[in-house]
Structures are given as C-alpha cells and as structure tokens.
Symmetry: C2
Subunit: 403 residues, 2 copies
C-alpha cells in the first residue's frame, strides 16, 4: 500500500518522540508499504515564533509571518529524515515547495490550489521514504505560504489525494472518533468507521481531532482518512465514503457544542425583505448564523431567534443594534447559557423515528428544547447549557451507542 502518515506537534514534541515517529514509520516501511510522512512543527515551536513576531508588532505582515512560521516544519522534517536515514532507510526531506504544493496568495491562511506530485512520485518510485514539511506551500510568485490552523492535516490529505495513496493516517494524541466525548459519557465507544458527512456533523465534538477543512478535502478527493494515536498501536477510526460502510448504524454519535449563543429579536417590523436585510448584514460582518426560528407575534410583528458561535456574538450585536436604533426591531436579547446537542447518523436517512426518540429522551429528562434543526443525517437541539451532560448521556443511552 501507499500510505501517508501525518504526525502533529505533540507527536514530534521532542527528540525522543521524533525517534518514536521514526520507529513507527520504519515499521510501516518494513511491512512492505510505501510511506510519505507529513510533519508539523515541534509543539510549542510555532507559538514561540508567533510570540517573537508579536514582540515587534501587534499586526505583523502576513508574508513575513509565513516565512517565519514555515521554518518550524522544516526543522522537524529534516530531523525525521535524518533519523530514518540513520536507521538504514533511504529517506528524503521535502519542503512544501519541493513536494509541489501550490496555494493561492492568502498568506497565513492559504488554500491549496494544486499539487504537482511529480517529484514525490519519482522519489516513491525510487523506493524512498518522503518526509514533507506540513502546513506550507508556495504561491505562484514562488513565495512561501502557510495553510492556517490544521494546515498540516490539510497538507497530508491533499498529498494523499495527489499521489492516490491508499490511506492517509492522521496521528494525534487521541485514539480516534468516539460515539461522544468520553469525558462526559465514560461509556462512549470508539467508532471503527464513520462517513465523511457524519464526521463533518460531529466536528464540534471532534474539532480537536480533525478540522472540517481536512474532512471536506478528504471527501472531495476520496481519501481514506484514519485518525489514530501515535502513542500506542491501538487501531484508530476510518473516515471514508458512505458506500464503504456496509452496515451503517442508525446513529453514529452524539455531538455537543457549548460554543453557542442565542440572539432573540422581538417585534421585527413586518415588511417584505426585512429578514433578508438583517441576515445579509450579518453575513457582511462575517457572522456565521447557525439555526434560525421565525414566528409571528400577536401584534403583527415578527420574532426572530437565531444562534451564532460565541466568538461572533459581539459582531452580531453591533449589526442587530443598528436595526434597533432605526426602529426596525423593537427589542433584542442575548443568551450565552445555551448549547447545541446533535444526534448524527447516516442510518437515519432510511429510518424513521430517530428524531422522535431524541425528543422523547429530552422530555423524559425534563429538558426543554429551545430550537430544533434537522438535516438528512443530523438532529440538532438547542437547550439550556446546564443540561448539556444530562442530554448527551441520555441520548447516548437511548440510541444504545455503548453496545
């Protein structure tokens, strides 16, 4: 098999851990596989460099930040290649440039536009282990760019797609994707397989494991993604296309997102286009609106409730206030003491009663549901944050996810 293995900052956090990574790569190689390794900077290194830059400027220029930050991954890649060579392997370190990763011009948050895998394929053909510095590429002008948060994962997935790897393994300090957060429900089980779409819906739970950007790219490029831990030989979770999962369970997991705030607009003037105006202004302010409920009040005006990420609340308030000032909205209120609990599963596409069971479970636990939104593979409920754990455990139990 041709396998891409990506190791994050914690996995290469010190010299001993880099040696451990070399041992793992070596083992994979000796099992007869071709291996391309993608590495992050040693943990703490990127933060140190950011702090250096911020010593000089609160708003350092992005092109220079990219030249600065891309150095961390180069160090890890070189060291790992040296370690592998010392173990007798023919290994070669590559920068993002050498690996053929071409991005757009958005320094510090560039998007991969193209990968020219010729150099990598040549080295694989020659029997070499390739160690690529993750998180980086070059724009068409030839300047170094970085891919932003989770960038090394993205490098790995994009490379796996470009070289048509059989597997892309993402090694972290977490052993895989669980039916829910084990810190909330100790009975949570690790999933063997999960579909891209389910993974995307579970993202709020799995955010620390995989970012949506990487999962979306894996889905687009049809890359079989595995998340597993670098600290043991434990099997991880395979994220793949739905067709590869033979017997999809009704429900795969319960996700919890505490990072939610609710905005209530009372007495919105009843004129055509007012809702569209409000939400367009919010979009202009780069506020990401999640759930929306609208209903008529007795006096002919409308009440609109919607949720945003807590971090967007300040910007959202500013937009809403302008409408209040202009008398278009009578009053507004905000609530940060909410959370969103989601039931995720591709199986619910073809089964009925999944939503009903969720609502019943909430009722049995005396939890009031504020808002509901559903998709083909997900039911999300906004509830008071104090019931978060109770709801997660109740749903985990109701769908028998510990079985």
């Amino acid at each position: 098999m041709l396998i891409v293995q990506k190791f994050g900052g914690t996995s290469v956090g010190d010299l001993q851990r880099i040696q451990n990574v070399a041992n793992r790569v070596s083992k994979t190689r000796k099992e007869g596989h071709d291996v391309v390794v993608v590495v992050s900077a040693m943990s703490g290194e990127t933060n140190k460099l950011v702090a250096y830059a911020e010593h000089f400027s609160k708003n350092p220029s992005r092109a220079e930040m990219d030249m600065l930050l891309s150095s961390g991954e180069r160090v890890t890649a070189s060291l790992l290649a040296i370690a592998l060579q010392e173990m007798g392997h023919d290994a070669v370190a590559m920068t993002g440039r050498k690996a053929g990763i071409v991005t757009d011009d958005s320094h510090t948050k560039a998007r991969i536009e193209d990968i020219n895998p010729a150099t990598m394929l040549e080295s694989i053909e020659a029997g070499k282990i390739i160690v690529v510095a993750g998180f980086q590429g070059v724009n068409i002008a030839g300047d170094v760019t970085t891919l932003g948060r989770g960038g090394s994962d993205l490098s790995a997935v994009a490379i796996a797609g470009a070289i048509k790897a059989d597997l892309c393994e993402i090694y972290t300090d977490v052993s895989g994707i669980f039916t829910t957060d084990p810190r909330i429900e100790p009975k949570a089980k690790k999933l063997e397989k999960i579909s891209y779409d389910e993974m995307l819906e579970l993202a709020s739970m799995g955010a620390k494991v995989l970012q949506n950007r990487s999962v979306e790219m894996a889905k687009k490029l049809n890359v079989n993604l595995v998340t597993r831990t670098s600290f043991s030989d434990e099997e991880g979770t395979l994220i793949t296309k739905e067709e590869n999962i033979m017997e999809a369970p009704l429900v795969s997991g319960i996700a919890l997102d505490r990072n939610q705030a609710r905005i209530s607009l009372m007495g919105v003037k009843d004129r055509p286009g007012i809702a569209s105006e409000i939400f367009n202004k919010l979009a202009d302010a780069e506020v990401n609106v999640d759930m929306i409920i609208q209903n008529k009040a007795h006096d002919g005006t409308t009440n609109i409730d919607f949720t945003v990420a807590t971090g967007d609340l300040f910007d959202a308030k500013a937009v809403v206030d302008t409408f209040v000032d202009e008398g278009e909205i009578k009053a507004d209120s905000y609530n940060e003491d909410i959370c969103k609990v989601s039931v995720v599963g591709v199986g619910m596409k073809s089964h009925t009663g999944v939503a009903a069971k969720a609502f019943t479970t909430m009722a049995e636990n005396n939890i009031n549901i504020n808002m509901i939104s559903t998709s083909e593979i997900k039911i999300s409920m906004v509830i008071n944050e104090k019931y978060a754990e109770l709801a997660v455990r109740g749903l985990h139990d109701a769908y028998e996810l510990d079985k």
Copy 2:
C-alpha cells in the same frame, strides 16, 4: 548610496538586539540610503539545530542538514522585516532563493555560482528595505544549500557585488581591524583603511572578524567592505582596493597565528621527485602545507621542515609515517610549540629594509627565528610559541604602529 548591512549572530542574538538592528537600519534609511540587510541566525540557534541532528546521527546527510540549518536565518530575516515595518518602513524579507542566490551542489559548504539580482533590484527600485536570510542559496535543482562557516558574510559580499552596492558593512562584536590583537598589545590601533591583500594576510589575526573567503570575494567583485561593531556608532575599518588607499603605511599590522605545527623530516632519500611525492600525498590527504624549508645534510640526504595547521597534524603524520615505514625518510619529529608572527603591509612593496628591521627586532629580543617566508607584502617568521607576545609587541613598537 546603496548599502548592504550584514548582522551576525551576536548582533541578532535576542529580540532586543534585533530591535537595535532595526533601529540602526532605520537610521541608515532615514539618512537617505537604500539598504539591503543580510542576517545570520540568532546566536546559539544553529548550534542547537546541529545538536538536534547529531542526536539522531553522527553523520547526518548534508541535504537534510541544509534544510534544517537554513531555517535559523529565515526566522531572523522575517522578524527584522516585521520590526522595520512596525517602524513605518516598507520592508520585505527574502530567502536566499528569493534573493536569487544560486550555488553549486555541495550541500553544507556550497559555493555561490551566480546571483540573479532582478527581484532585489525591483524591490530597491520600489523603495523597499530588503532583509535577506544569509548563509543560504539554492542549487540548480532548486534545493536549499548552505554556504558553510562565515556563509552570511559571503552572502552579503556576493549580494553587494551583484547589486553594485557602494558599501558592504559587516557588523560584528569587534569594532574593526587593528594593527595587532589588542589583547596582546594594548597600544594596538584600529586601522581606518586596509587593502584586500593586507586583510588576507592578516586573516590569522582577523579570522574572527572576517574569513578569507569573504575578503577574496570582495576583492574579486570590487566590493568596498567595512567591518564595524553593531554595539556602538564607532566607525569601522574599510577594506578596499589598494588604489583607494592614498598613503599606504609601510606596515599595516602584525599578525599572530598560534595554530601552527612544525614537521621535521630527517634523512630524506636523495632521489629526484621525492619531495614532490611527499607533498602530493599531503595534498591528497587535504593537508594544507604553509612554509617549507629544505637543506642538504652532510651525508648526502636531505632534511625537509614544513608547517601545517595544528588541526592537520594528525593527517600529516599518517602520510609522513608511510614514507618512514618504506625507508624513504630516516626519521621524523613534530613540534606544536611554535607560532607564526607576520608583518604585513603593502608599503613594503616599494620600500627596502622592512625585513631587516623585523630580523633586528627579533635579535634584540633574543628570539630565535626557525623559519622565514616572505611575499611582496608580508614577512612571516616561525618562532617558539613562548615568545609570541614578546615578538608581537616588539614588532608593533619597531614599526611604530601605535603612532
């Protein structure tokens, strides 16, 4: 003027010092000059990376070492550019690649083959301050290479030559070139100007200030080189072509090289080609032979004495021993307790009596001269190491270098 300013590791050793460098560059810019800055890695950084690599391998591969080591200069260049931008300057950081530095394939000790200054000239034209990561370039395959010891000085000189800079200032922790080592002779004076050739001869004294590689390149490219300190505004020493020095002094300085060993070959068989054989074998073993004395013994055999750098003594012994084993040489002996004192000055080309004064000085101080070698601008004498300081002070005095 168009000025290249190069700052070594000590000058950019921490964030405060990088800010000091930014202040100096800013000042130069505000005086109306165009500035290209070349920086080394923060002091200690390169050693740290070397130690990391040696943790994994006693003999790490050179290509990977280059990818590893080149990261340090990138960090400094980015940070300095950010600091300059924060001060309101239009500054841009460039890697060796971006600056157009093309080298040969000799990883970790590459030679600069060509500089394509187009990108730099464009940025200068646009009024930008350029900050180049020193010590690095790319080979024709596009892989990062590093230039070996003193590589950042070399980057600076080569860039100054390529963009036809008026001046190339090398900032170190030493304030310039002195008539001799001030730790030996406190009356030593800083030279205002010195010719390339004198600087090359004084190298053993000035090794810590400037490497011969850089001086040779400055001479070849006709670059006006200034060495000065980054820790004060004190003027430095200009190293330039002889024609630019109007009234060359008879003697510019006294150099001392303690790093010398003497090898004596007794009873070398008197057959044609034997000396050539010995010195060719030494050259094959990469032993750099400095001075050679040959004289006939009474028995028809020959005695040959020569000096090498102490570090080459081990390799030289190995070569010589093969000739002893084969009976071509009767006996050999070694002496590390020697040093080389040199009187350097372009003025001696057109003046007589300079050598005589040196020999007289030694005689007056009861110092026995073991070996002598002279060039147009230099008289070197090998003496017992215990007289080193006495000889340096005596000569400094004799040529009135404190005046």
